[in-house]
């Protein structure tokens, strides 16, 4: 049984022509996913990532954002992070780790019905702050929490 061929067939059925084009090597995934901000995820520092993702690096510290993370993370490969915010009309929540190779970990675009609450698990290379940026009404609000990492989780 040719497993690669089976996978390709399955993918083709799921996404139609895009997957066919991918399978034939005509398009790279990046070209298809124009919406995914590659520059922001490739950025090597926080300011650069924020500029590429949100168009601005100016943010003000806000007490309406709570970053819940462990004080000490034993395994940097799995650090559970919860960001809660009571800022009205929050549009986007981004999670950044300045000490990682690429600081931007994840960004969540909220809709009108979604509450300012997301939980996820991220990788951390070493002890660092975890920065949460909340975009609301065109402004950026920031909060951070320091997490001590005893075993790094970004490969190597």
């Amino acid at each position: 049984m040719n497993h690669q061929r089976r996978t390709l067939l399955k993918a083709s059925m799921a996404t139609g022509t895009i997957a066919v084009a991918l399978g034939a090597g005509l398009l790279t995934p990046q070209a298809v996913l124009a919406a995914w901000p590659k520059a922001a995820f490739d950025a090597k520092d926080v300011d650069e990532a924020l500029s590429a993702l949100l168009g601005s690096k100016q943010s003000s510290t806000s007490s309406d954002i709570q970053v819940e993370a462990p004080d000490i993370a034993e395994n940097g490969a799995v650090v559970s992070i919860t960001v809660k915010t009571s800022i009205p009309n929050a549009e986007q929540i981004s999670i950044l780790v300045p000490e990682n190779v690429s600081p931007l970990c994840a960004s969540y675009i909220l809709s009108a019905n979604t509450e300012g609450f997301v939980t996820g698990r991220i990788k951390m290379r070493k002890t660092s702050d975890v920065i949460a940026i909340v975009k609301a009404g065109g402004k950026l609000h920031k909060a951070k929490k320091s997490v001590k990492v005893t075993l790094g989780g970004c490969g190597g």
């Binding site: 993918a11 799921a14 996404t15 895009i18 997957a19 991918l22 995934p29 990046q30 298809v32 996913l33 919406a35 995914w36 901000p37 995820f41 490969a77 799995v78 650090v79 559970s80 919860t82 780790v97 990682n100 190779v101 690429s102 931007l104 970990c105 994840a106 960004s107 969540y108 675009i109 909220l110 809709s111 019905n113 979604t114 509450e115 609450f117 997301v118 939980t119 996820g120 698990r121 991220i122 990788k123 989780g153 970004c154 490969g155 190597g156």
Partner: protein
């Protein structure tokens, strides 16, 4: 063959829904090396996750390689009732994709 790609739990209380989901995915950063051969393991990570509630967009997650293996996602939203349809779709940097539909209880 039928290996589960995603687990979703969603429930409501007071018009408000809580969603918890786990996607089974290796989330390779592309920085890790295979210890035996010394070659870099190619990057394979989820770039986008779309969540829809009764067909309407609810949450879009943009993820990079910094998200852990077998990513966990939890969020809450308003105006939900039991029996509503919740659809979660992901796509990774290699073009793999999966959609799982679940009912809110």
């Amino acid at each position: 063959m039928a290996k589960k790609k995603m687990k979703i739990r969603a429930w409501t209380s007071d018009n408000r829904a809580t969603v918890k989901a786990i996607i089974f995915h290796p989330m390779e950063t592309g920085l890790r090396k295979d210890k035996a051969s010394g070659k870099a393991i190619p990057a394979k990570y989820i770039t986008e996750v779309n969540c829809k509630h009764n067909g309407k967009p609810l949450l879009t997650c943009l993820w990079g390689p910094g998200v852990s293996k077998n990513p966990f996602l939890s969020f809450r939203f308003k105006n939900a009732k039991a029996g509503d349809k919740l659809e979660i779709t992901w796509i990774d940097n290699q073009g793999n994709t999966d959609t799982t539909v679940s009912k809110i209880s």
